[in-house]
């Protein structure tokens, strides 16, 4: 790889949009980036690949002026630059869409687009801002509703607002941190089309992703980070997914058929641990978000739930863990009726829950790692005895969980939000597995994890199954679902379309069901 020569298609003499030279960024006890060189040329989509904690987000935060590097330099269009604030990076034409959106939830789309924008008109009535927003939205090909409040938008729509915010400020380099993690397949397709259009105008994109197929599809070149250092930059055309995965992890990944039980594994229990009978849920606006769902969970079995996100998976998870009250139907735990939605009741019964949005619902981001790891076990000995809270015992528990999750934590007293998203996910997963003696409800547990970590996570699920726990595994990734599930249910518009045997299931049938079409020969709401 000759660093100075432009890739094919770039006029000779054109400088790269962005050059990084020897970037180093350190946090207490962690080397987040070290000796990172990177060139991004106009007219390319550059993928940044790496395991969780490899330092991808940190590197991009350095480029956009959120962090200042301890070492190295940033060169834009051939000139050295030092950003002390994100605003300076924006002025220089670098825009970033973050992993966790940074929109004001209570504001409208138009207000968010104009927030902190020096080109916003001085006196801006909502009508003016909405008109401008509509114009921008049409110009860049990202449809949005200017007058909608951000809190009412889906993740995909919110992302479009974030992108427009950046594009409106004349970004020439768009950085996207795991943009597809929250998108449905259709939304991903739309995003990629728009990114290609953006590239065609001579702009550049850096996209961070864990999904190798997407990297192969969208990018021109790929750079891989491992342990904070860059391993290499490759032309995507010369790559294949398994080679990328191996380079990223530094070892080979073996995919095993995880449905096969090892010897001595618990068999599928004949009696269900938990049953839903004709359960429906209505939201505040009276819309039925879960419709007449019947389902049996058996110990020693993994039930996969497929479907495009937003088709009732969230409601199903919440009903299964006591977070949401049903409007009709029955829930039985060990054969006896559960009369109220009380999460404490489900925890006591041994129901663990890895929620979809761990930072928002499973962790207290500003509190310490130790405090967060005690969240499930604080009422019980050794941490909770006689109404007390034993901080030392909590510390021991936190260390245990971190060790099992293979997350190295420099300081257990630091706020858990300092950990990378993937590491938070691993810790939550391990914490929940500890208490899931009967049932584990795992919503998108692999979301945002890299390949190596996904394999480990799926291994956790099969281990639990072998111990006789009933596992509900909700995912968008059909391959993962087919790999580990014994039965697969498909959700569409709040309805459990069908539960089919994973052995006999094929992608086509599931695809049809996900689109709302009841394939012939499958039994709707079957409970085996």
């Amino acid at each position: 790889m000759n660093k100075q020569s432009a890739p094919p298609g770039v006029a000779p003499g054109t400088p790269p949009v962005l050059q990084l030279r020897g970037i180093g960024k350190f946090f207490p006890g962690v080397i987040a980036n070290k000796d990172v060189d990177l060139d991004v040329w106009p007219g390319e989509i550059h993928a940044l690949l790496g395991e969780n904690g490899a330092g991808k987000s940190t590197l991009m935060n350095v480029v956009t002026g959120i962090y200042q590097p301890e070492e190295g330099e940033i060169i834009l269009d051939g000139y050295g630059q030092a950003f002390t604030a994100p605003q300076e990076a924006i002025r220089a034409g670098i825009g970033m869409v973050h992993q966790h959106f940074k929109l004001v939830q209570a504001f409208t789309v138009a207000e968010n687009i104009h927030l902190g924008w020096d080109e916003a008109p001085r006196i801006a009535s909502p009508a003016v801002m909405e008109a401008r927003t509509r114009e921008i939205s049409e110009r860049f090909g990202f449809p949005v509703r200017p007058d909608a409040r951000v809190c009412d938008l889906s993740a995909g729509e919110q992302q479009r607002v974030e992108i427009l915010r950046v594009l409106a400020r004349r970004a020439r380099l768009l950085i996207m941190d795991e943009p597809t993690a929250v998108l449905t397949p259709e939304e991903t397709g739309e995003l990629f089309r728009a990114l290609k259009a953006f590239r065609a105008q001579g702009n550049a994109v850096i996209i961070i992703s864990h999904k190798l197929d997407e990297v192969m599809e969208i990018s021109d070149r790929v750079s891989i980070l491992r342990g904070g250092r860059k391993v290499g930059t490759f032309n995507t055309a010369d790559c294949n997914p398994s080679m990328l995965a191996a380079t990223m992890v530094g070892r080979d990944i073996v995919r095993r058929n995880m449905r096969a039980r090892p010897e001595g594994a618990a068999p599928v229990a004949p009696d269900p641990v938990m049953q839903l009978r004709h359960v429906s849920v209505r939201d505040d606006r009276g819309v039925e978000t879960l419709r007449d769902v019947s389902l049996d969970l058996h110990g020693g079995e993994i039930l996969g739930i497929a479907g495009v996100a937003g088709n009732g998976q969230r409601e199903l998870t919440h009903v299964l863990t006591g977070l949401m009250a049903r409007t009709s139907g029955e829930i039985l735990l060990d054969g006896s009726l559960v009369d109220r939605a009380d999460p404490a009741l489900f925890v006591q019964a041994g129901v663990g829950h890895i929620p979809e949005d761990r930072l928002r619902s499973a962790l207290a981001p500003s509190l310490s790692v130790t405090t967060n790891m005690a969240l499930r076990e604080y009422p019980y000995p050794p941490i909770g005895t006689h109404g007390l809270y034993d901080a030392q015992a909590a510390g021991v528990l936190a260390r245990d969980i971190a060790e099992l999750a293979q997350v190295s934590i420099p300081d257990f007293a630091m706020p858990i939000r300092n950990l990378s998203g993937g590491n938070q996910q691993r810790l939550v997963a391990r914490r929940e597995i500890r208490i899931a003696s009967r049932v584990l409800v795992a919503a998108y547990p692999a979301r945002g994890l890299d390949i190596g970590a996904i394999a480990t996570m799926l291994g956790y699920l099969t281990d639990l199954r072998d111990q006789g726990v009933a596992v509900v595994f909700i995912s968008e990734d059909l391959e993962d679902l087919l790999n580990v599930s014994d039965r697969i249910g498909v959700m569409f518009h709040g309805r459990l379309m069908s539960v089919i045997d994973a052995e006999a299931a094929d992608m086509a049938t599931i695809g049809l069901l996900m689109g709302g079409r009841d394939a012939a020969g499958t039994q709707a709401g079957a409970t085996q």
Binding site: G322, L345, A364, P365, S366, R376, L388, Y389
Partner: protein, 354 residues
């Protein structure tokens, strides 16, 4: 590259905050001295006088302790409420309610101090709790913002005190204005004019710190304050915890009122809360959410108040004293913010690094 010299940390280490606060206080003292010198006062004489009549003499220390006592409790009241993410702006009103209830018990019941004092204590706590009950229920069951409701009740409590002390409970014995008669019992003194309420308040603050860090209830409160959704996920009955914390907060402020009326003032008087409830908010902000920090924060606040009184005897108007208080707090706030910045290793330009 000058602008690159500093980096903002998301959370500031405690040591840096302390150091920068000390710098802030010293700097404000210099500013104050300068202004006083310009207006014809001798800063040295004034400083000498202030020091002698606060930290430097027995009477000064006794006064300090008496100022600290209510500030410890109202500061703790606001801090405890803040742990679950709520603001009790009504410590002033709860202070009055506690004082009124304790006075009512003292004037209405008869008996020896050993019986009457515990009854007054309970009455004071219940008074404070009663005063925060409506905001509490409104918050827990209807999501009504507690900042507004607790604040508005302050004015009612204050006016109620004026009404009682000029109306039904006015002093008919010695004819003191806007005051009840002297209460028949008093909290015993332990050191000069310092009554036993002071050590009790210290013990309560330490006890609260332990409760918050070492009990299940405290753990649940901390989780509930940091992320209510995670608390629900963990099966914590958030609504009940909000109710218990707010009642506790009201009770603490009510107890402050009882101590003040039965230990320091010995009568219920209009305006007797002296802004202790509002200053409790300042104490809590200075304490940055930690109960143990309430002790030094209350001490600092008491020092400022006490120095202010000394200065008023030296022809400095009350508004000058208020301005000085404001300046010190303002400088401390700047110090706290600066504590988040750290020079970036190696690139700090000469002469600019702090």
């Amino acid at each position: 590259m000058a602008a690159r010299a500093f980096q903002r940390l998301p959370s500031a280490p405690a040591g840096r905050i302390l150091a920068l606060r000390l710098v802030a206080i010293v700097l404000s003292l210099f500013i104050i001295a300068g202004v006083l010198a310009l207006s014809g006062h001798s800063p040295v004489t004034l400083a000498d006088l202030v020091l002698r009549s606060t930290l430097g003499s027995r009477f000064g220390l006794e006064d300090l302790a008496l100022f600290m006592c209510p500030l410890l409790l109202t500061g703790a009241a606001v801090t405890v409420c803040g742990t679950i993410g709520l603001w009790n702006i009504g410590a002033e009103g709860q202070f009055y309610a506690g004082a009124i209830a304790a006075t009512g018990a003292a004037l209405g019941l008869h008996g020896p101090a050993i019986v009457l004092l515990p009854v007054m204590t309970i009455a004071g706590i219940l008074g404070g709790m009663a005063w925060i009950t409506v905001p509490t229920l409104a918050r827990a069951y209807a999501g009504v913002n507690e900042i507004i409701t607790t604040l508005l009740l302050n004015f009612i409590a204050s006016l109620l005190t004026y009404y009682l002390t000029t109306g039904p409970w006015r002093d008919r014995i010695s004819g003191a204005q806007v005051s009840t008669q002297r209460l028949p019992v008093a909290i015993p003194e332990m050191w000069g004019i310092v009554h036993w309420g002071f050590p009790v308040a210290i013990v309560i603050v330490i006890g609260l710190a332990l409760v918050l860090s070492r009990t299940r209830w405290g753990y649940e409160i901390r989780i509930g304050g940091a992320n209510p959704e995670a608390a629900r996920y963990a099966g914590i009955p958030v609504r009940l915890r909000i109710i218990s914390v707010m009642l506790l907060s009201g009770g603490l402020a009510g107890l402050a009122g009882m101590f003040e009326v039965a230990g320091t003032v010995h009568r219920l008087q209009g305006g007797m809360a002296n802004n202790f409830g509002y200053l409790g908010i300042v104490v809590a902000v200075l304490a940055r959410g930690s109960c143990l920090n309430v002790i030094p924060a209350a001490l600092l606040m008491a020092l400022i108040l006490d120095s202010g009184i000394v200065m008023q005897t030296q022809q400095l108007s009350a508004s000058v004293v208020l301005a000085i208080t404001g300046l010190i707090l303002f400088m401390i706030a700047i110090g706290d913010e600066l504590a988040h910045y750290r020079p970036v290793a190696g690139t700090a330009p000469k002469g600019k690094a702090s």
